[in-house]
């Protein structure tokens, strides 16, 4: 399908596609077949190859070692990396680091960029975003955030309890959302603070057990539960303006939602590739399954909906490069999250027992894609925003029309 992406975008994506097909997917298949996980050393090798091929970290400026692409232009490359369980990782475009890089690059000080962003892009260090709290803090309702940071001289003193801090157990530093002005509305009184993980009082309690999470790499990440107990860091560690935490997080999350859409669209694409290959070979009752209509037509529908998702994400990326594009991104995210969940589910159904087995990557995909309808704003949260936008705009003439003809009758009835 031709999407009229820019020439640059198409060129980088073509390089990424070759890299996936020649290097990354073959290694993924081997890991699945043998059970041999991919080592840290192998990932470092992928990074070297990615640099040589000029496709490392497409989302980062060239000065930090990336390809300097905006959202529109990184989109087809990110779709490509989504095709493999190792894809995003292999070119350093994987969550949560990609979003953290984006944040530091956007609002970090020069010192922060030198100390943390540069090595982060290079994969020398690792990062985490520590926002979510038990029972809803750090979620869609900002008033529920409970972690605090109080100024004591030139230091922040942070206290709080987070979980679902992705990669938190492995991270060298954490970006922590905390209330920094309890008198202000949280939209004005919350800040993001960079906390080195080895600071006193940072206590990684455990990795929260979760759906899936048994990847094919040695280091699997995990979502950490972290306690912050009188954690002291310099005030200079504030990332972005003091008090602007939610606005910065929104910037991070807007982009993050959309890069998720890109990667998961690629995952759905690959799932269809596998399903089509499988049912083209698998026989039953005298012909291949692909020659019968039932699965074939459902795949046609899946292709149609995936196409709609990709068109919608492109529209959102175009907007996001020039505005905050909240509604466009919310729509793309909800639509893509549901479509990719359905498609991966269909691919599993096409492959039968092989779909739920882990010799193919589909079961991993299935475990990975379910959270996409919850993280970065659950479907319900985005529906709420979209509804607010939709009802902002109720047509006065239609209201008059509805009222006039019904109210009039009511009044008539009462008059008499």
């Amino acid at each position: 399908m031709e999407y009229h992406d820019s020439e640059t975008a198409q060129e980088v994506a073509a390089r990424v596609e070759s890299f996936m097909d020649e290097q990354v997917i073959p290694r993924e298949r081997e890991a699945l077949r043998t059970g041999e996980p991919v080592s840290e050393a192998e990932i470092a090798e992928f990074w070297e190859m990615a640099k040589e091929r000029n496709l490392f970290a497409p989302q980062m400026p060239e000065e930090y070692g990336g390809q300097g692409l905006d959202f529109q232009d990184m989109l087809p490359s990110f779709e490509q990396v989504g095709r493999s369980l190792l894809g995003a990782l292999s070119i350093r475009a994987n969550a949560p680091h990609e979003g953290n890089m984006h944040t530091l690059e956007l609002v970090g000080t020069e010192a922060q960029k030198e100390e943390w962003l540069r090595p982060l892009v290079q994969g020398e260090i690792s990062s985490a975003f520590s926002m979510t709290e038990p029972m809803g803090g750090g979620g869609s309702d900002p008033k529920m955030l409970q972690t605090t940071a109080q100024k004591d001289g030139d230091e922040w003193v942070i206290n709080g309890h987070k979980w679902w801090t992705s990669d938190g157990a492995d991270a060298d530093f954490l970006l922590v959302m905390a209330r920094t002005d309890l008198d202000a509305h949280p939209y004005e009184g919350t800040s993001i603070i960079l906390v080195p993980t080895d600071t006193d009082g940072v206590n990684v309690v455990r990795n929260v057990g979760h759906l899936g999470g048994h990847g094919i790499t040695e280091r699997t990440g995990g979502h950490a539960e972290v306690k912050y107990e009188n954690v002291r860091v310099p005030v200079e560690n504030t990332v972005g303006e003091e008090g602007a935490g939610f606005r910065v997080a929104q910037m991070r999350l807007g982009g993050g939602r959309l890069t998720h859409c890109m990667r998961y669209s690629g995952m759905a694409e690959r799932s269809l590739e596998i399903a089509k290959a499988y049912i083209s070979e698998r026989e039953g009752f005298g012909s291949t399954l692909s020659e019968k209509q039932a699965l074939r037509h459902r795949i046609a529908d899946a292709e149609t909906r995936l196409h709609a998702a990709r068109a919608t994400s492109r529209h959102a990326a175009r907007e996001l490069d020039r505005s905050d594009a909240r509604i466009e991104v919310a729509m793309a995210k909800n639509f893509t999250a549901n479509v990719t969940n359905e498609i991966i589910d269909l691919a599993i159904q096409c492959c039968g027992a092989n779909g739920i087995g882990k010799d193919l990557p589909l079961a991993h995909f299935y475990e990975n894609v379910r959270p996409f309808r919850i993280v970065d704003g659950a479907d319900e949260v985005h529906r709420r925003s979209i509804a607010r936008w939709a009802f902002d705009d109720v047509d006065e003439t239609e209201i008059e029309n509805v009222l006039r003809f019904d109210e009039k009758r009511r009044v008539d009835a009462l008059d008499e």
Copy 2:
């Protein structure tokens, strides 16, 4: 929602929107409220106004009195006319005439254009496309077409039986699909022939009763059953090349599918406008329905899916302006047909008894939109094309992967 349509497209669409809001929708509301149908004279008045406002027949070249817009540029105007039961009619952009104009303009001879196209655009005469036959002829499988035209000197002698010839009972001429070379494959041996309705042997049997069909205009069109019995017309009445009937029909239908998408998207948009207005006023259990989540969130989802449909149609229009865009159009058509059906259904549900009553236009919309999943290629027919495209492209490496690991096992087992 901003779609980056061209400036011309936006300007014409803005004029169309004003025309709808100021003239057309008010008349529609009056017709619904009073039961007083819109007369032929009133429609002629609308055409005059549309010409004055420079928005008449956007799809036609300026030399024929239109606005000269290609698919991409007519799209937002066609969305606007879809908002009213009278919209397309009021600017002469309504099916089937719009598609018939398109066909004559594309492949008609100069003589045909002068005699038939020019007055057709102006609304001085009326047209019909006579393709479908009982039990599947003229449908998705070209081999089932049974109507024939045999050459006798410089005349065609046409025999056949058609139905679902839209507006056939009112038409001044019919475009008839007939086998003209029985030895050739139908793709090569079928032609379109222009038949004036008053020719001997043309017998309009009846209008086929159908879902809905009780519009708000005096002349309601209807889908005619027509018999052709030794109907003689000059060979010059062939429209397009002899034998190229299916190719011409595809051109007509490709565009027709997409202009349907545009108009029905507008219909869905208006349905949401009405539903939002209604539930913003309608109370139950202590607050308006719009303040409760159930319908509100479903409207958010409807807006999301409609947005995806509109983005997908724009993509298809862009392609259709430079190629036949079969898959792009098939996907846009299937997706939009289903989404608009669902949305209009939801709008009815929002309005309760008022949704199924005909004081609002929703019940009419509901009757109109259901056929969209059947006409111009049923969902199943397009799924068939999309599947063929999808399976053309099965990934060899994935096939090897699937085969290798499964076949190997099978072979191992048999070896022993």
Copy 3:
């Protein structure tokens, strides 16, 4: 499918099935084919035949000329009548009369039964239930009812404005819901009053235009808008206890919801019969459509869901014969309404152009079944009741579990 209905139930249903197949459906087909509507005289003939065959008015006691069946036992007969557009009418089991008979039989005085019920069962007179008001009165929220009846001596003086009074324009009497004690909660202060249509001040304004409504009988019923202006009837015309209007209406509606389920299940069954017959004959691309999987498998799913609906309705009927069975009926109604809408939609899709044409009964079915998701309590209203029931019953241990593990963390975090 064997449902273990009682012997009586099966015997009557077998007689009804023969009557449908031998007399009623053939006449329906003729009406559809010729456009010749069924006359009042023909309907009276059907009633005579139904009496001779011992299947007239299954829902009424034998002393009034019916078959004396309770909900469980009338169920399979009502499924049978649902198979034809004329079915319920032909044996006097059609809404709204069937529900009105039920109401009078249940709570009417002996005098009311003699004067109104006996001739109503026999079809000598006609009835209507006048409850719904513009903008929500008489709907799910009882507080919104605005029609009043004030006692003046031994007369009620009724004022109000109703619409969607089914068959109101043809009725000999109306059952009117009115507030009779404005100081009481509407559940305690509303009564049902029998009003002969020829009483002074009863003003049938119009029949509300609505979806479908173009049946195949001479007299099509319609939903009337009715004004009541100082309408005086004797206090003896109260139907059921004074003040008990909502409780009586609930009884009427509980049964009415379920008899709707029965009839619409039969309609869905017939739709599948037609769709299967059609695609078994209709060819495309070298074989019949029934030999291809796409529609065939969707029909299998439709059969499955219809079976689930019929099992659920039987469960509800069993309960309704011994209690008010609110939740059981609400579930059966919502489930069946959605399933039958989907199935009739599918049957139309199977038949293509013939599905939306009115030579087959499917388009009529489609128009008839849509309101089923709105009338007698919209889906949303029943969801509300079901949710209340579901959340009445939240498991204390699970709450403690959820709280314990999350709250504990929260408290821990705050302690430190």
Copy 4:
């Protein structure tokens, strides 16, 4: 919800419910919270308790230590055990053993019952059913089975390659499906043979990695890939008649499908209990989530569909106790598999991050329930059977009707 189960059924189910609530669910919660898996010794303790409470192995005759219940009567007990990850295991009603017991009890010889069934029921030994082969053998198309057993004197010599042999790695014996007469149709030439796992030539290659599979018990089972290489067992090890393998398997699978329905319905029920508890406590934007409509109404729909599933399973169990009930069971299985998948998905969505985390059992449920749409006959396989049944029964009169009115037209047209 009252289902009119028999008194015996209700009494046993009440005992099972108490056992779950008092013993099993608390241990499950502890395992989830602490990560401490349940040991073999603890399971043995559960069995002792189950025996004391008279609820051990409800599906087995009393002489083998069970409760002697038929399908109808075991149903509500099996629903109860489905509520916990440990439920079926704790009373020895878990797949695949429960089905294997059923098979041996139904068709085993007295010697087989003494040697294998009695200790199997008691949990002294473990069993597996070895049917599925790579690329479709042993699946829905019997012709694809490739494993063979040839008679050599009074021994079978078995060769073949199986996978997805559940619990195969732990089993003391395997029930192996093999072609025993290559000249016969597989329905007549296939047998089930009992193979002790320690027989020479039985080679458990590995456990196939699969979706989920990380349970909360020490011994997690797994689905084994097993090679049979010249495996010799006495001919007396044939289970059931020689050549009757597929018929016996159908008996096993018919019951197995339905006991799966029961257990998964219970799992869905528990999921709703947890979701309701969670959203009754979880706050957002000023009230609990349960006070807002969006999730609340979706839970109402989930309750409705689960109710329909449970009614349908009861209908199928009633039939299965007196016939093979293929269609009834196929419908119950497909319907329940889809409904329970949707409900568990919804419960996860309700609980947000806690839904995908493994402190609650929902993520485990999600992993467990997905295979239910594939194992014991994928949805597509059952749709195929249901369609065959549905199209066996095409209404001749409807065919004539469809043909008559369409063919006639066609003939008319050709005549002229």
